[in-house]
Amino acid sequence: MANGWSIIIGLVVVAGMCVAAWIFSPKGENQVLWRSSLILAFISCYLMWAITFLAQLHPLIEPRRSDLRKEYIHH
């Protein structure tokens, strides 16, 4: 479902959203405000998601714990 290509797909989706924000921002003196804020918000959120995803793409360490109960270990 989600693998390395997700980063690219996400980028495309966010780019699409940015274009949509550019086009559909309400006209008037606050148009620049709408555009800059929406696009900046989308890109910030994408950046954070992408960083988190990339950090787990090829993990160098794996989770380890010793307080698991026998009944729940297979969940």
């Binding site: 997700s6 606050n30 918000a41 960083i51 950090a55 787990q56 793409l57 160098l60 794996e62 989770p63």
Partner: protein, 862 residues
């Protein structure tokens, strides 16, 4: 040329205008412009002192009216009459005419006289009443003394007459003189009766005893009910005293001492019949006084409550009127043509509106002479006017708290609207806390109108920033989902990418490791995998992840901010700022930190173990890049050819330093020399604003002025003096050079220190997460472990504690701390890359602003 529309992206275009207003309608024009609130007037009479100005008399008169109105207000407060507050959203006040103001002044005058005379008579009556009450008490209490004292006149006589009277004599005499019916006067014993404050009794007694050497007999009784002091209106406890003494001189002395101690001496007759008559008389008089007093008070209250209906409106009218005259004082008056001349700044796009307002006033006044508004050319720096709306207002305020942006440079508040709340959210990321915050922000926005009236200062501050809180909360919800934290617990929204490798014969307490479910396939799609939660090496992973994220976000934020400096340079048409500052700066920054970010991402995207390689440490890589260019740490390469690339990048960065240092100053010098060679000169006077200020501005006119003639607009201006009233005008190479050296050093060092500064994102988000984990384990976890009915009760208590502490510590305290850190990132790390902050704020003459800012008027407005 049609002016561009004003946007929040830059401060509005401003024009210097000159107004010629007929003297008769000066006041009306000022009023209309005050309602409009778009013009900032310049002081054209700066050489005149406040007393010499034209309208000082009017202001004095209004000051007096204002004082009278305040007097009414204090009287109303004293009488406990509520003030009808004026809600400016509901009621509108028509601009008053001069006659209306005159009437108001007269009315206030007569009302003041009335109220103060009523007050005076009320106070006199009150004093009379207190005196009579005191007298009544004296009569009553003293009567008691007399009745008792007549029983032991002998004793008194003996103790005053005879120093060596036996101590026990009174007992004997008591028996022998049981039926004594002698008057005191017969014995030559006089007395003084009166009232004194209870706290002074002891001192009074002591003084009397000492001055009279004990030649007195004092009797006193407490008045059970407190008496009201008419001057301060406070209740005072008092005592009645009667002092018996021998001889006229001593009595006179006692009287004097009593008076000096603040006691009131009253006339009491020793004869009980006469005393009874006196009591009757006093009672009758007291009744009369009380009746009159009640009437007076009623009249006063009626008067005041009538005033209270319109006091707020009057107060606001008067303060507006005063502001109008203060503004008129800034205008210059042309006696010959009987016109007022005003100068000021206004937004260029609002000129038509101002023009039509002036026309309106003219038409209403029916004046044949039109008011004239002229745009004038000036090279003074216009003020920075950034229009705001409900949403951007608070963001603009936090930017303005740092400084006022230079005229027409990119408004730093534009990126702040997103970056400030987003960086806050990176530090505050917890879904649960964010949702509570979101609810609070939404509630404040939903009940915007009613909550606006709350005057509690702390809340008013939060309310003012409600839209910031909203955006912060929305981003925090997002980052909370990314961090997969809800009150420090995780959410299992998707299947984990990990599964536990369960050894055979698993027993509780054995360490288990996880492995990827599909080594080359499924990854956790959104945020952190919940399998990390509660593991032993959770922090090891999340620290590395958050640290790298901080660097990447910081790099993105700073690169983005740096780009604005390019936009600024283009707007101000200074290509040298692009080639001498922006481009070398950008290359320097990217070849070090851009490269680092690229390496971080590259390292993440490579499957190291899958290809059987060892991952290199990035931190050491960066250090080796500087310390030993051309070698790699431990020889482990991130990618082939890494050493060469790093040397090239380092050289690229180093080369930028001299470019940053020298390009701009030498270019400016060359440009200046070229212009001089062509025969241009600096203009002696730089600011020619109006015919009126010629004198003060042109005090330092050079000889150059003469050959320019009137055609000064055609003269090339060598100096781009943006600061309007600065001193310099000559091109000073050393100054430019020093400035550039400072800029270069600052920029290069800041690239390093600012990148490190973004690590606060990691530190604070770690702190927030750990703190909420500790809170959970100290309250809820303990309660959930306890069983039985006790456990249930404990759970309720623990939850209350958990919730309250969550809100106070984790949302409010941590929120404030994250906000301050985010604010710093905006102010220092971001603004230093592009914003100059060399402007001065536009402060138009506006009634609305004046009323909002006035502390004094706040109590009159609902």
């Amino acid at each position: 040329m049609a002016p561009k529309q004003d946007t929040p992206f830059r401060s509005a275009d401003m024009s210097m205008v000159q107004l010629y207003i007929s003297n008769e309608i000066g006041r009306e024009v000022c009023n209309a412009l005050g309602e409009l609130g778009l013009v900032q007037f310049r002081d054209l009479n700066s050489e005149l002192s406040a007393f010499q100005r034209a309208f000082t008399q009017d202001i004095r008169r209004l000051d007096n009216v204002e004082r009278q109105l305040r007097y009414f207000h204090t009287q109303m407060e004293k009488a406990g009459i509520p003030l009808r507050k004026l809600d400016l959203d509901v009621d509108t006040l028509a601009p008053p005419t001069t006659t209306e103001i005159d009437e108001l002044a007269e009315r206030a005058q007569s009302l003041e006289q009335r109220v103060s005379s009523l007050n005076e008579s009320y106070e006199t009556l009150k004093k009379r009443e207190v005196e009579l009450t005191e007298w009544r008490w004296v009569l009553r209490e003293a009567g008691g003394f007399f009745d008792r004292a007549h029983g032991n006149v002998e004793e008194i006589r003996a103790s005053t007459d005879n120093d060596d009277a036996p101590l026990l004599q009174d007992v004997e005499q008591h028996n022998t003189a049981a039926d004594v019916e002698r008057s005191f006067s017969g014995m030559n014993i006089g007395f003084v009766a009166g009232v004194i404050g209870r706290d002074r009794v002891a001192a009074f007694e002591r003084i009397l005893w000492r001055t009279l050497r004990g030649n007195l007999y004092m009797n006193q009784a407490e008045i059970p009910e407190p008496l009201v002091d008419p001057t301060t209106n406070e209740p005072v406890l008092k005592n009645v005293f009667v002092i018996f003494a021998h001889g006229k001189e001593i009595l006179a002395k006692i009287r004097r001492i009593s008076e000096s101690m603040g006691a009131e001496v009253y006339n009491v007759d020793e004869n009980s019949d006469l005393r009874r008559d006196q009591v009757h008389e006093v009672n009758a008089r007291l009744n009369d006084v009380q009746n009159v007093l009640r009437n007076t008070q009623q009249t006063l209250e009626a008067e005041l409550s009538q005033i209270s209906q319109s006091l707020s409106a009057w107060m606001i009218l008067v303060s507006k009127e005063k502001a109008v005259y203060n503004t008129l004082n800034l205008f210059s008056y042309d006696r010959a043509r009987r016109t007022l001349i005003a100068e000021g700044w206004c937004p260029t796009n609002d000129l038509p509106l101002i023009r039509s307002t002036l026309q309106d006033v003219n038409n209403r006044a029916g004046l044949s002479v039109p008011s004239i508004i002229n745009e004038i050319r000036t090279n003074k720096t216009p003020p920075t006017y950034l229009k705001t709306n409900k949403f951007t207002e608070a963001f603009q305020t936090i930017v303005n708290a740092y400084g006022t942006a230079t005229y027409q440079e990119v408004n730093p508040a534009i990126p702040v609207i997103v970056t400030f709340p987003f960086l806050f959210a990176v530090m505050f990321g917890d879904f649960g806390h964010a949702v509570i915050m979101l609810c609070a922000a939404l509630a404040m926005i939903y009940w915007e109108k009613p909550l606006k009236k709350v005057t509690f200062e702390l809340f008013a501050m939060v309310y003012y920033g409600r839209y910031i809180a909203l955006v912060m909360a929305i981003f925090s919800v997002y980052t909370g989902l990314i961090y997969n934290d809800v009150f420090s617990k995780s959410m299992t929204l998707f299947d984990s990418q990990w599964k536990w490798v369960v050894p055979e014969h698993y027993k509780d307490g054995m360490t288990v490791k996880a492995e990827l479910r599909e080594p080359n396939g499924y990854r956790y799609p959104f945020g952190l995998d919940w399998r990390w939660h509660g593991t032993e090496n959770d922090l090891l992973f999340s620290n590395s992840y958050k640290m790298k994220m901080s660097i990447i976000l910081g790099w993105a934020h700073m690169t983005y901010s740096l780009c604005f400096s390019y936009i600024n340079a283009r707007h101000f048409k200074k290509p040298i700022d692009i080639w001498g500052n922006f481009v070398p700066g950008m290359i320097f920054f990217q070849s070090i930190f851009g490269y680092l970010v690229l390496c971080i991402i590259y390292k993440w995207s490579v499957d190291w173990f899958g290809t059987g390689r060892q991952p290199p440490g990035l931190l050491n890589m960066l250090i080796y890049m500087f310390l030993q260019p051309g070698t790699l740490d431990g020889g482990i390469a991130l990618y082939p050819g890494q050493a060469k690339v790093q040397v090239i990048l380092l050289l690229l960065a180093v080369i930028q330093v001299p470019i940053l240092l020298f390009l701009k100053p030498f270019y400016l010098r060359w440009e200046n020399n070229r212009a001089r060679a062509k025969g241009y000169r600096n203009i002696g006077e730089r600011s020619r604003v109006s015919a009126l200020d010629d004198d003060d501005e042109n005090g330092h006119t050079n000889g150059v002025h003469g050959d320019e003639g009137d055609d000064y607009e055609g003269a090339a201006m060598l100096t781009h003096d943006d600061h309007g009233d600065g001193e310099h005008g000559e091109f000073e190479f050393s100054e430019v050079m020093i400035h550039q050296v400072i800029h270069t050093i600052e920029f290069c060092l800041n690239c390093v220190s600012h990148t490190a500064s973004y690590l606060r994102l990691w530190a604070l988000s770690l702190a927030h997460q750990q703190l909420s984990a500790v809170l959970w384990s100290m309250t809820m976890e303990k309660a959930l472990d306890t069983r039985g009915i006790g456990g249930a009760i404990f759970l309720v208590v623990a939850f209350a504690m958990f919730f309250v502490l969550s809100v106070i510590i984790l949302i409010i305290m941590e929120g404030v701390s994250a906000m301050l850190h985010s604010l710093r990132l905006a102010w220092v790390e971001s603004f230093s890359k592009f914003a100059e902050f060399g402007g001065w704020p536009f402060a138009p003459f506006s009634f609305k602003q004046q009323l909002e800012e006035s502390e004094e008027l706040r109590e009159y407005m609902g």
